[in-house]
């Protein structure tokens, strides 16, 4: 039994905006009978370009119907530019959340909206295969769609991606490709978020950061064994330190130097750091 929120149950039992619109300004159709769910979304704009009417028809389970109903309520009154910014997470949030295996229902909603807006702008029927390459053939999911879902939902695992898109839930042949897509998006995200840090630090910034890492991460560990460490100098990427207390003269201080001090500084400051002991 699914743990649906009251709002999901309400939108399932009493769906809003069911039906067709005569001469709609945009129509989006996604999903298929074979996939087990499908959604047809239509809208009509007012003279200011805002969505004044939205209607849907859905073949699918309770959460698919509820997601469609919620979507129509969310877009009415919005301009297309505003509506375009709605993600599947927004649809799920509007409903108070969806069980994780049902996240794909909210993705279907967002896709239908994208398809309807595309139809309005181009007069053409949205064909997601033009938007990318089909990766999951069982459920017809493209790489572009998968990348977007990974990004917008912060997907970490294959299971999470299958819950959100159904991809990989059939024969499972595409699972290695799905993993590659997750890895690719993560690598792009890491590269993007890493950019500011990659700007070269000034020497002063670097020394502050090294002192900070020594204080926070290295010194407490050494002190547990009655030792300590002093920062002597920073010359480019060479950090000179002197062991104090139990560490000075410790026969494994060489190991401590590499495995603790250098490893932490490499991790937190720069991969290029080397540490030297001043005796």
């Amino acid at each position: 039994m699914w743990d649906y929120t009251e709002k999901v149950n309400d939108h399932f039992m009493h769906p809003r905006n069911v039906g067709n619109i005569k001469n709609p300004d945009g129509v989006g159709e996604v999903g298929s009978l074979a996939c087990g769910d499908a959604l047809k979304l239509m809208f009509k704009l007012d003279k200011d370009g805002r969505i004044k009417e939205a209607k849907f028809q859905t073949f699918g389970c309770a959460s698919a119907i509820a997601s469609s109903s919620a979507l129509t309520e969310m877009i009415i009154g919005k301009t297309l530019e505003e509506a375009e910014r709605i993600t599947n997470k927004d649809i799920a949030a509007y409903l108070g959340g969806l069980p994780k295996q049902k996240v794909h229902c909210s993705v279907m909603g967002r896709e239908a909206l994208e398809a309807a807006i595309y139809n309005h702008r181009t007069g053409k029927r949205w064909d997601k295969e033009l938007e990318g390459e089909v990766v999951c053939h069982c459920f017809g999911v493209t790489d572009k769609e998968l990348e977007r879902v990974v990004r917008e939902n912060d997907i970490q695992t294959l299971e999470g991606l299958t819950d959100a898109t159904k991809a990989g839930g059939g024969c499972g042949n595409c699972l290695p490709d799905l993993q590659k897509i997750i890895d690719r998006v993560h690598a792009e995200q890491a590269a993007a978020s890493g950019e500011p840090e990659e700007r070269p630090m000034t020497n002063l910034q670097k020394i502050h950061l090294i002192e900070d890492v020594i204080d926070r991460e290295i010194r407490p560990a050494l002190r547990q064994d009655g030792g300590d460490l002093e920062l002597i100098d920073v010359d480019g990427n060479t950090v000179k330190v002197r062991f104090r207390g139990a560490c000075s003269g410790c026969i494994i201080s060489e190991i401590t130097l590499k495995d603790v001090v250098e490893a932490r500084l490499k991790e937190n400051v720069s991969e290029d750091i080397t540490v030297e002991e001043v005796k």
Binding site: E29, G36, D37, A38, F59, G60, A62, P99, T162
Partner: protein
Amino acid sequence: MRTVYLDNNATTQIAPEVREAMLPFLTDLWGNPSSMHTFGGQVKKYIETAREQVAALIGAADPQEITFTSCGSESNNLAIRGGAEAMDKPPHIITSKVEHAAVSGPCHYLEDRGFRLTKLDVDELGRLDLDTLQRDLRAGRNLTSLMWANNETGVVFPVGLIGEMVHEAGGVFHTDAVQAVGKIPMKISELPVDMLSLSGHKIHAPKGVAAIYIRRGTKVKPLVLGGHQERGRRAGTENVPYIVGLGVACNLAAKHLEEESTRVKAMRDRLEAGILESCPGSRVNGDTKGRLPNTTNISFDYIEGEAIILMLDDRGICASTGSACASGSLEPSHVLRAMNVAGVSVHGSIRFSLSTYNTDEDVDAVLTELPKIVKRLRELSPFVS
């Protein structure tokens, strides 16, 4: 709101007679049947009575051929894993594509450990392909596990015929009869069946007790090792109250067998005919000529099963669906897929399964509510204009 329970292939209500019979073993008679003293030892005879009652329901020649277990899944695991591992050489495992997970699970377990596994096809009515079975049986010594009746469609396999074919090829035959026992008459002593699984909660005993019939002479390696209980086939102190309950449930089932094939079947037939008549675009899944008397599986074109179930639930009616969405598996029922049920209806299947506790009012309730629900969901569907 009155509950209309039509999901008896999932589980059944506990018969009042069963509950009553169990109570003394939850109050005064709590001793260990293996004890030497009278207080414990006296309960042993109640276990043996229950064993006789189970044997009587399935027509076993000797009550000692009955071993009590904890659930149908355990019985199936014992038969398949225990049966295969007790054979001199690893047997060829033969099963079908429509088995319950409690059978396909241990079969795949053996396959992962190097056993050869064949899963037989069924036709569009859910009937087994016996020609393929005949061909596969030639491949050498086998352990064949095929269900007596399908839990989703109620379709009955010809176990007598299958058993003969398996024995002729020198194999061992197990049947998962969890859905068949208590619904159709059987005399296992006269059938070429080596092992048979049955479960308590499908026949008005509580969950947590089941049994396996192991024909005298059939070798099975126990799964649960330890004490000598159940003649060494299943260690562990006996679940006395539940075993007693299972015995009484079998006794009741034997009495109700005729009613299953008359009154329950009549209710099922009226329900089915009524639905087909009042809901356009509906069709029965499975062979209507060879089915359990209590089960009907109906598909509704262009609408989805979970939505139907939840709307029925809203009106107090309990049924189940083979739809993908309801299980969270993304793929619809493996049984309906094996039967090649058409794409327009595979996601919209509903199973109604009745029991002796159902009434004509229950049937009326479905016939009043379901057509409205189907109509409502069709209005929502983009495939119906």
